[in-house]
Symmetry: C2
Subunit: 444 residues, 2 copies
């Protein structure tokens, strides 16, 4: 469709919402996307750039000539504009900025002065503020005259003469009030403010906790500098949750998209698999310590993966719950000990349950399959049961202590904890089972 | 602190936001929560109930006498009220409803007539609608007189005389318009409507895609019946992402909280571990087929977990990416084949890389450790390398095909796919490695 060209494409996309055009572009082949942009020309809605997946957007933005990009970006609110060009390299970004109207350029440059991932970078500078002493009627009259208002806003920020934020008035509350009400009397109690240097995670947490729709951003002296709206925050929250989920499985977030080249995907996964390989080799090393034991009782080789696998799964369950609750701040220093205790008890209960189940089954199997002398089945069952309990309890402990420790050390608990936990469960599982077997079953 | 009683607690919590009181309650011991509620009495803000974690809320709501609960719930908007009492058993719910004022009761009963997880259940019935022919001035005057408005709203829904929704006008756009503008002219193009029977996942998808703040809910004949706001949707999106992340690790969402009794946690994890046990036993069975082979070459027992573990990890990586992209609808029927191909190529590349690495290392180790006759190391290396490639490719295929198949079959791809994928990688891993070894290394 796309290679044929022309006005047909414009007509087709004209009725679509930018989000739909973005979806369309994502499903297209890489080479065609720039073509669509060129075809659309003036009809291309800059909002589409905002809606694209990060990797697609970055590639497209690279491909578009800088002057055309500047035109497109100038149409956007500052937060969206900064978002679109933030991954460009320095030179390109400077060139795009140079091509933009002065006012937009200054606003954008100010945004890039804030650190990455700060509230100042996320916010839009277009806000509507009203002095505290004005009445509802006066403000409505002023609103009707002004034309540099943000495209959409949900609250009026009430400021004092030095532009310090005094409070927040939701538009619906504002509209219900008679014309002669002084705006100051409508201020909502305890609506939180956002500091411009606040980390975006912190901002997301505030929005989520207090169900905010938008919030004023202030500088160190409480002066109003911008506004953050819930749609930007939702995006960040999603990115972070996705990041945690992918990190637990050893995948980079950037690599979670479907539009990344195969070579890059393979390389990024290789890293994680290499780390996992070290774990696996460590486990092999433990098994290697007991090769003489296994040579005497091959049944051990048959059963040993069960212990390690159950431990690994129990550990992953605990770990995932811990990582999730760390992210939502339900797991804190205050209840850490209670949670660790709880997980250990759960692990112990399940450890005992599976120990009995498997111990009995393995004992009978060992005798019936004729692996050892009569009576050895009982010993094997006990060895397996004991190893299972030890491994499960270690899994419960590792599943909570590892993420808690990483968090305390300032690392992201989602990223590296899975390896640590699996290493612990593998090593403990093989060592406990084969070690006990060497002593009680084979070594008599 | 809590056992001491009295006005002190009221004073302390009076300044807190309901979300903070909820946090406080969550961190408290179970027995104390009801006590706090009683202590607070009239000072208890019903919003707190909405902010609590599901498990804590359900327990608290059970504990509160029904008449007091009815009083508290009557203060809330219908969506929050329904949310708070939806997990009560039939009798209690009926009793609470009976104690409420007639109007609130009818609204709530209507909410419960909608299916679980539908837009009708999520929405609040308090909305503000304006006839299409009214002017901005008339509407503002009406707003000031009315007192049954929703507590907060962000858009005006424009309706025709039969209450069909004609369009949506954001408050900020409304405020910028002169008094004599007819509201119909302010309608935003292509703002989506939500059908009352729409599934909540679908609603969340719409909100996310179009960055909505609120949306009108309509019945089959397009009549306005309610409104859904973004804060309710954000909650659902989070729940669903959490659900996916927890489900991949074999944890029920309801069990992801930290306030669940140990017994319940242990029981729910036991289920998943049992399923995993079957996988582990299947893997053991495969190993058991080759016990004679292992008895002849113990080194195989040492190396076999490496193959299975690498396969398992590669499978989990692929699976997580697939589940995430299915959830965000980036992975669809249209690009399924492309994605499966991509993942298979990635798996093949990494399979070959690790095959060479490990094959060489294992070959040398086998000869140096003096396990077999001279030259056997080469054969072992080749066997390991071949098994690694086979397992990795199967992991890549299973990691994409299993979730795609489950989705197509109407099942939740996050819930059960991890078991299937691990089963595949374990079985293939052990079978390929031991099988090839039996033929080429031992069976000559």
């Amino acid at each position: 469709v796309e290679v044929e060209d022309a006005a047909e494409v414009r007509r087709l996309t004209a009725e679509l919402h930018p989000a739909d055009v973005a979806d369309l572009m994502e499903q297209m082949q890489e080479g065609h996307r720039g073509g669509l942009f060129t075809l659309l020309g003036d009809a291309f809605d800059a909002e589409t750039l905002v809606e694209l997946d990060e990797d697609v957007r970055d590639a497209l933005v690279e491909a578009i000539p800088n002057d055309q990009l500047a035109l497109a970006v100038a149409e956007l609110d500052t937060d969206d504009a900064a978002f679109v060009i933030e991954n460009l390299d320095e030179d390109d970004r400077a060139e795009v900025l140079a091509e933009m109207p002065v006012r937009d350029r200054l606003a954008l440059q100010a945004a890039f002065d804030y650190p990455d991932d700060s509230a100042g970078r996320m916010m839009q500078r277009e806000v509507f503020a009203a002095p505290a002493f004005r009445t509802v009627g006066e403000i409505i009259d002023r609103l009707r005259g002004q034309d540099d208002l943000p495209e959409r806003f949900y609250e009026i920020y009430v400021v004092d003469p030095t532009f310090r934020v005094v409070g927040v008035v939701p538009l619906s509350r504002f509209l219900k009030a008679p014309r002669d009400t002084v705006i100051e009397t409508l201020i909502l109690e305890d609506h939180p403010l956002v500091r411009d240097l606040m980390d975006q995670e912190e901002v997301a947490y505030l929005f989520e906790k207090y169900n905010l729709i938008s919030a004023p951003v202030v500088d160190e002296s409480q002066r109003l500098v911008g506004m953050i709206t819930v749609d930007d925050v939702v995006e960040i929250v999603h990115e972070e949750r996705d990041e945690d989920m992918l990190a637990l499985a050893g995948v980079d977030r950037e690599e979670g998209g479907l539009s990344i080249p195969v070579r890059q995907v393979a390389r990024s996964r290789f890293t994680w698999l290499s780390v996992n390989l070290l774990t696996a080799i460590l486990a092999s090393f433990i098994i290697g310590l007991f090769d003489a034991t296994i040579a005497q009782a091959v049944a051990l080789a048959v059963l040993m993966p069960i212990v390690a696998s159950m431990g690994g799964n129990a550990g992953t369950q605990t770990l995932t719950v811990a990582v999730r609750n760390l992210a939502t701040r339900n797991l804190t220093g205050a209840n850490a000990i209670r949670v660790v205790t709880r997980e250990t008890i759960v692990a112990l209960i399940n450890g005992i349950a599976f120990a009995i189940l498997l111990g009995v089954a393995a004992g009978f199997w060992y005798d019936l399959a004729g692996y050892g002398e009569a009576g050895d089945g009982l010993i094997l069952g006990c060895v397996l049961a004991a190893a299972m309990i030890i491994t499960m309890v270690c899994a419960g402990l590792a599943g909570t202590l590892v993420p808690l420790g990483l968090q305390k050390a300032g690392a992201d608990p989602a990223v590296s904890s899975a390896v640590f936990v699996t290493t612990v469960t593998d090593v403990v599982g093989f060592f406990a089972f084969l070690g006990l077997a060497a002593v009680f079953l084979v070594g008599r």
